[in-house]
Amino acid sequence: MRRLSKILAFGMAACMAATAFVGCGGSTSSNGSSDSGSSSGKGSVYWLNFKPELDEVAQDLAKMYTEETGVPVKVTTAASGTYSQTLTSEMEKSDAPTLYVIGNAAGVKQWKDYALDLKDTKIANELNTDAYNLYDDSGKLVSIGYCYESYGIIVNPDLVEQAGHKMEDIKNFDTLKTVVEDIHNRADELGFDAFTSCDMDDASSWRFTGHMANLEYYYEEQASGKTWTEAPAELTGDYMPNFKNLYDLCINNSLTDPKDLATGGHAPTKEFCDKKAAFHVQGSWEWGNADTPISKSVPNAVMIPYYCGVEGEEKAGLNCGTENCWAVNSKTSEDNQQATLDFMYWCVTNKEASQKLVDSLGVLPYKNVPASTNPFLKNAEDYTSKGNYVMDWATNYQPNVDEYRKALVSALNAYNSDQSDANWDQVKTAFVDGWATQYQAANG
């Protein structure tokens, strides 16, 4: 009897111990599965994807690659706006991402110690341009661009013509203003408005605080006479009036009253797809966006530059650049690094895989990939071939980007609800002084 109770006691204690550690069980088994990949000498790939829009394609590629080569590929996509958090916590794990994104100068500063030098790798030799690569101060190739994008104002030409205007008429800010204000004034009669809602919630505010802000940075960069290679400590704010021109035009001629923009929720891209508005401030990725693809609803949409009243802007092109740059984890095993480099190479050389990426991402800057089907990127190329200037993504240099943009959103909210000069001064403070403050905070 006593022996039995002893056995029972042992059994119970073992059960309790097992249940207590059940939480850790999951990670052990996931380690196990990745280890089984490396033990075969092939290594494994763990891709931490940065763009939610790419998730489906990335999962497909992973499956295809595993079927073809037997190398396990795991893809995790960070939810919108949480990449930094996800990367930090994933990098702590024993099966950390082998392939991840370092998309801008601040990212390089933060993660360079965890990035393999990609110089002279097979994938780097496949690139057809060095324009989207990121280097650290020692000259190490930290990350390489895997696609580039463009943003500007997406237009539905049918609606513009329906309102009695021609696309060719829109050549600069004044002509854009004429068309936009006319459409807005006749919105009831036409059944559609000029701009989609300029929501200021987290899902939409970056279109203004990140993208449209670029026009100010870009023209300031041009005026300074030298290309930015790192964030300047201060801005002059000389082109704020131009930012204001375009921003005012958008918020005052849109589907939603500027006073109602603070908490958002109007789904601007859907408004554009539903043909409720003719103009939409967005980027090339919206063409093949999984939920509301512009390709399906407005197949002849075009993208025009941010016209904002700058002299000579008739020669403006689209804002082209990328934050999509692959980096390989330098702290993972050599097998995993090799497997990852092979996977990247396969993505841009395999016919089917690269086609999938091109369809989803637009243009891949690699030698042997299919031509883009994305008309917005075609627009960008057309502008360039006509001799117009490309507006680079100076916005990538925003210091402490999240904090900087949050302050700008706050000031824009106040301005939207009351478009007074005092409130615009607050926007200017957040835009210009906020830059200096965050630069100090980031660089000490």
């Binding site: 109770s5 309790m16 249940t19 402490n400 609800s417 002084d433 403050t437 905070a441």
Partner: protein, 299 residues
């Protein structure tokens, strides 16, 4: 004789195997709480991107934390919020509990309904209430993220709505445990209802008051998700040459934003802030427990 024997047969294995049974929970507590806690304190003296390779940095993080105006602002804002919400939640929860123990019809239904908001997650609640508030405020051309006073009271309303039901359940349990004979004796002695409430009921529910004030005080200080979803710290006051102040940002959100929103050099600062935060919440909580415990009466 029999008693003694049964006692010893029970006690001996307990003494022998007790440690083994305590083992799993002790190990889980050590892994899940003690170790991360020690590591957290260590990290507050380090500079790091990933916690697995941190470099010792002395007291710099603490100096940075104390000289950060936004942290100081968040502290006072949180303190004010915690006090206001503590008073409102407890007064209202006690009032509701008192009414629902007076034997009115359908009190079980009311208890369920009042308790239900507590089952909804903070982030969801924050977004729902931001829509409700903005639905009203947009008629006046403003928004909850435009005015810090609205942000403050909005958060108070939200927290009251969520927490009153929970505290009410604790108060109801306390009220039901007040001995009937004491109430009856007070009645016979000619005490008014008001006197009975103050002199008999409240001293007898002091244990419930202790636990409820403790919970609402620490909840108030630790509040994070509702704060993030309702206002996210907006509106922001820009200052020339100093860090911008998020007027409705509470301590926990400030720590989170320092950790993720800024450059990696600030991660150690965020960790230092978190340690200061812990000392503060633990100290306040214990002080409050000690104070209210003294008011409890023996039945």
């Amino acid at each position: 004789m029999f008693k003694k024997k049964s006692g010893s047969t029970l006690r001996r294995p307990l003494r022998k195997w007790g440690l083994l049974f305590l083992g799993p929970i002790t190990a889980a507590f050590a892994i899940g709480f003690i170790w991360p806690f020690i590591q957290g304190i260590y990290l507050s003296f380090c500079k790091f991107t990933l916690i697995s390779d941190a470099n010792f940095n002395g007291f710099n993080n603490y100096m940075a934390a104390f000289s950060d105006e936004s942290f100081v602002h968040a502290f006072w804002y949180t303190a004010l919020f915690a006090i206001v919400s503590l008073v409102l939640i407890n007064v209202l929860a006690f009032a509701v509990a008192y009414i629902l123990t007076q034997g009115i019809k359908g009190s079980n239904l009311f208890r369920t309904v009042f308790f239900m908001p507590n089952l909804i997650g903070g982030i969801v609640l924050g977004y729902i209430w931001s829509m409700i508030f903005d639905g009203i405020l947009s008629h006046f051309g403003t928004s909850i993220v435009l005015n810090s006073t609205f942000g403050f009271w909005g958060l108070i309303i939200l927290m009251c709505w969520q927490q009153i039901g929970y505290m009410m359940i604790i108060y109801i349990a306390g009220l039901n445990a007040v001995p009937e004979d004491m109430i009856e004796a007070a009645k016979i002695d000619g005490a008014t209802k008001w006197q009975t409430l103050w002199k008999v009921t409240i001293p007898n529910v002091m244990p419930s008051i202790t636990i409820c004030t403790f919970l609402s005080l620490t909840n108030g200080f630790k509040l994070f998700d509702q704060n993030l979803a309702l206002t996210g710290g907006l509106p922001i006051i820009m200052q020339k040459g100093a860090s911008p102040i998020k007027t409705t940002e509470m301590l926990a959100l400030n720590i989170y934003n320092t950790f993720y929103g800024s450059n990696t050099a600030a991660r150690g600062t965020a960790q230092a802030k978190a340690v200061i935060f812990f000392v503060l919440v633990a100290g306040l909580g214990l002080a409050q427990l000690a104070y209210t415990r003294r008011k409890e009466v023996q039945q």
